[in-house]
């Protein structure tokens, strides 16, 4: 299929429709508005339904309902809107329903701003909602990867009966890049017949979608079962890209847009004869711990670069477990790090190492 030039937010919509998403419930917020706009235009043409809900809370509960019926459903928002959805997200996780949630992250806290940020790392990976639940969190760094991931997200959600979150900063939502639609690697997906509320037709007992367990032992058993599922996800789904790791003196850790700026800095430093590596998590949860545990002996320090005041650095530190010193460089509020600023920070670190 020939490449087309698409804007990130539109491409997410197109990928979702390709993946068989028929239902979208959302509420506008910059910088992700092109996505609901695209879905409002395209879903009706594809036998789907688009509803602009009265609020984010309403939208996520519509997702809860649709997911309970076993259909492919998606919602999207940006940071403060995702904050509003947290109650619904933990209910969906608790009730073990598949759905895809897209967060096109903007600066925070609070209403923040409308420029790109990565300050929802904790919100995505620690759960903004209550209870011991986990989302699969995918973090694309370019539009091709994003359309691939969005398509796969629907399969992952169905496979694990778990919400999948796709996190892109505002830049990923707004930028344009050539993309092509490919078929994701096939997974054997379980049937939804045993639980989806599709109507009894008088032939079976009703299926009940629920996250309320009043019996403490029942709830603990439920939690133990969920944890087992999360363990499988951890074993099977952690993904990362390693870049220029051979003979690297410092390893950078960055995801999404920031990883592209880091690569630019790495390439520039390489011309000066300085070898810097990059580990780019493609999944934020599960975090690719193994990548950090297997860094080459040449690496003397790590530098986490984020468009935040420092969130993913916690996971980098946990993964490295004190093996090497770990520093941080970040910009926030919608400011984007420049390759030169990263280079300066690296050189400052190298000065200290020698």
């Amino acid at each position: 299929m020939a490449k087309v030039l698409m804007k990130g937010n539109e491409a997410i919509g197109a990928a979702a429709i390709q993946a068989g998403c028929k239902y979208f419930f959302g509420y506008p917020i910059t910088p992700q508005n092109e996505l609901p706009e695209y879905m409002s235009k395209e879903l009706p043409k594809n036998d789907g339904v688009f509803v602009q809900a009265e609020s984010e809370v309403a939208a996520i509960n519509m997702v809860y309902g649709a997911a309970g019926c076993g259909v492919r459903v998606m919602t999207s928002s940006s940071s403060p809107g995702i904050a509003l959805k947290q109650e619904g997200i933990t209910y969906i996780a608790g009730a073990e329903l598949p759905c895809v949630i897209v967060n096109i992250v903007r600066g925070g806290p609070g209403l923040g701003g409308i420029q790109p940020a990565q300050s929802d790392y904790f919100q995505s990976t620690r759960g903004g909602g209550n209870g011991d639940y986990k989302l699969l969190v995918l973090a694309p760094a370019n539009l091709q990867e994003m359309v691939d991931m969005v398509q796969e997200a629907f399969d992952m959600a169905d496979y694990y009966r778990n919400p999948v979150m796709v996190v892109g900063d505002g830049m990923i939502g707004q930028m344009m890049e050539p993309i092509e639609f490919r078929t994701p690697v096939k997974r054997e997906l379980p049937s939804k017949e045993g639980w989806a509320t599709t109507g009894t037709k008088g032939n079976r007992k009703p299926h009940i979608i629920n996250s309320l367990f009043l019996d403490p032992q029942g709830l603990e058993d439920h939690n133990i079962r969920l944890q087992k599922k999360y363990k499988t996800m951890k074993e099977n789904e952690a993904r990362y890209e390693a870049y220029n790791m051979e003979n690297a003196e410092i390893v950078l850790a960055a995801y999404g847009t920031t990883s592209r700026i880091c690569k630019n800095a790495i390439d520039k430093l390489k011309e000066e004869g300085i070898n810097i590596g990059l580990i780019r998590p493609q999944t934020l949860w599960p975090f690719p711990e193994k990548a950090f545990q297997e860094i080459p002996e040449t690496v003397k320090a790590a530098l986490t670069v984020e468009m935040s005041e420092g969130q993913m650095i916690d996971d980098v530190r946990l993964a490295l477990n004190g093996k090497i010193p770990t520093e941080f460089y970040g910009r926030s509020g919608g400011m984007i790090p420049t390759p030169d600023a990263i280079i300066d920070k690296i050189k400052e670190m190298l000065g200290g190492l020698k």
């Binding site: 490449k3 030039l5 197109a14 700026i261």
Partner: protein
Amino acid sequence: MLNDKRIRIIVGHYGSGKTEFAVNYAMKLIEQESNVALADLDVVNVYFRSREKAKMMTEKGIKVISSAIGHDANLDLPAISAGIFAPLQDETCQTILDVGGDATGARVLAQFKQIINFMGYDMFLVVNANREETQTKEGVLRHIEEIERQTGFKITGLINNTHLLRETTLEEVLKGQALVKSVSDETNIPIKYISAIEKVAQTIPSDVDGEIMPIKMYMREEWM
């Protein structure tokens, strides 16, 4: 370029490359004219607007007009500076209006209808044949119709800006040229420019319709 009307309105499907074209056009025009203004009338997008390059353009002597509360106001509000009237009225000012995407974005022009009609204008439609909605003649014609209906102005020139960013090849540009030519044949709107990144622009045969305009990717950061 100097044969174009004093007021040039740049419109097109969003993502067609209007802003990159408008900024490149302004940067080239200021090499030949001393009084050049670029008005960023984009009220649809919040990222990648020409006002982001205000500093670069101002340093070259281009007057940049955008929001009433400054180029850096990151507001998703349709606030346009009244300062836009100055270049529209100033008969010595070469004026470029960079308009937001689709007919929705072009609606903003309606409020300047009287003065623009009085002064005379060119309205250029930027076409990228690799954009979803403008891959066919019918798609482009639909955009022309919608933008003309929404603004009340007529499109006076077509711009073939078919590209895949840094992956652009001559074949892509020529594919777009065939599309734009078919639209031109049907509507009698001339092809005014054929724009492409510099290395591709050099290879475009000189007998194609429209003036070849090499494009610098001002709006795209080096790491993108």
